[in-house]
């Protein structure tokens, strides 16, 4: 009731605002424990601001996230609020909603919250992988992606968890020794257990009850969002000259997750 009243008050404001309202109520439920402003607070906040002010702040958020994405380290909501949103925190949900829309419509990217507990965002390419594949521009490739691919593949093919010993041994066969400086990657151990972990491509956690201490690798939250298991399996089939379907378990997993992520992305488009 009261909401409808308020809505009629601000009917002059753009359509997107009303749309966002319904989304915000969803977000709010998940976020109840945090100091996220309520829908009514957002409405009241928006009434005090001009459309230009909100647009300006949205643009700042978009730029901040784009710049932060250069290092591929997830953006923390706390940092976003502290450095960019500042006094606009009452209308935070509206601004992040608009930023998401901008990323989707302007940049072909998707802003995803990978960690609903600590509120971290990453940017993911939202374009169809198959259409994006023949890149018109000869982009300089990042060799680290090759390394990451190997690691993620081994984890995936080994059922999701891999002891670090197996990982280091496999990498050693590829002339990448964690104990030695690699001419391409430098301090390989650091790249893998620190950089990839901070970027949320990998999880590197201690195995409980091991003596001496052992660690294991898993996929990080960013990989879940960004990496296609079906594509890995396909490449694997090419490499090992096997039918991807012969890895029954992996095939099933790849295609159950792939279909769900595809469905979600098609929804957005």
């Amino acid at each position: 009731m009261t909401q409808r009243k308020r809505l009629s008050n601000v009917q002059s404001s753009s359509q997107s605002k009303r749309q966002s309202n319904s989304f915000m109520t969803q977000e709010e439920d998940e976020d109840a424990t945090f100091t996220q402003p309520s829908t009514s607070q957002v409405q009241r906040g928006l009434e005090k601001l001009t459309a230009a002010q909100v647009d300006q702040k949205t643009a700042e958020v978009v730029q901040y996230i784009l710049v932060k994405d250069q290092k591929k380290i997830p953006v923390r909501r706390a940092d976003l609020v502290k450095h960019v949103i500042k006094d606009y925190r009452t209308v935070y949900p509206e601004i992040i909603k608009r930023a998401m829309l901008t990323f989707e419509q302007v940049f072909g990217l998707k802003l995803v919250e990978i960690d609903s507990k600590n509120h971290m965002y990453v940017l993911v390419n939202n374009l169809d992988a198959s259409t994006a594949r023949p890149s018109p521009v000869e982009r300089p490739s990042n060799p680290k992606m090759g390394l990451l691919f190997v690691i993620l593949s081994v984890i995936f093919m080994k059922g999701g968890v891999v002891r670090e010993n197996l990982m280091w041994n496999t990498l050693k066969k590829l002339r990448v020794d964690p104990g030695q400086r690699h001419e391409e990657f430098g301090d390989v151990r650091k790249v893998i257990t620190d950089e990839f972990v901070r970027q949320r491509y990998l999880e590197y956690v201690r195995v409980p009850h091991t003596e001496p201490v052992e660690y294991e690798f898993r996929w990080g939250q960013r990989s879940d969002m960004e990496v296609s298991k079906a594509q890995i399996l396909e490449f694997m089939g090419q490499l090992l000259e096997q039918d991807p379907q012969s890895w029954t378990q992996q095939y099933r997993e790849a295609h159950s997750t792939a279909s769900s992520s595809q469905a979600s992305s098609s929804n957005h488009r």
Partner: protein, 350 residues
Amino acid sequence: MRKARAGGDDEAVRQNGSSSRRRTDQHPGDGEDHDSSSGGVQDDDDDNDLGLRREIRSKYRDLINSVQQNREDMLSPSNNKLTEVLEEANKLFKDVRQAREAALDAQLLVVATDLGKEKASQLFSEGSAFDPSAFAEHLLSFMGLNRLEDEDDEPPNGCASDGYLPKDAWHRLARRAECCFRTAPSFHYMMGSFYTEPPPPKQRIERQRKAPSKEAKRIMPTQLKKMEESHQEATEKEVERILGYLKSYYQDDPSPISYYEFVIDPNSFSRTVENIFHTSFLIRDGLARLKLDSDKLPCIEPVEEEEVEAAGSFSRKQCIVSISPKIWRELIDVFEIKETIIQPPETQSE
């Protein structure tokens, strides 16, 4: 890597050799002990026994180490290394007498069980098993490994050392693997990004702190100097000014001037006091002299410049002039002073 593994293998071989040798050496003795008295082994020959204990422990440790280091090889389904290790351990266990050795045996069992568990998990996986070594092999081929002449057929040892990867090996793999990633292309500024250097804010703080302190330092001494200068100068100027009046008055009428007529300002008592004060400098410097006229009233006259030097030799007399507003008023009445001879300084009239 190959070195490490090769070393490990060598050790294992040496170990096997030595252990078997020892066993043959020691078995007869051991057997005798067992035959005679099973309980008194330790007491019978202590030295030999201590050495044996130590050796058993070290063999156990070697075995545990070799299992941990060669874990991945032992895991591969193609070999029977785990069984070999267990057999070896069984042989060692024959000689185990003390808790310490038994603890090591138990530790080995933990490691072996862990391995067994992992081996079992390989069996459970549906469809084709995934062999990381084979994966690595194929990746090397994909990355354009240039194999050199002596290509070992033995996969793990051979490929780790032979051949070299082209420079763009990882780039090649990255390009092919790109399609697996839906990575957002990172954007960069064409002119490079604005680099927020930490130093500038620090400098700014320093500047802000320094600037006021410098000014404060500068202001304090100049103020002091000015005060002193102006004070001295003012007195000197005033004295000279009064001398000027005295001289011009004397030129107009070259007779001694009545001291009080000269000094008194009928409009201001304080000016009068100042005049008396400044005139006293003229007397002190010998530029003017005071004397009493026929009526025993003090009169003043300037000293000619030639006389100034001569005057220096005369003994000087001091006298104190006292004046009060009352006396000042009386003097004005008595001398009928209408105007002041010494005009107030310009700064005041201004």
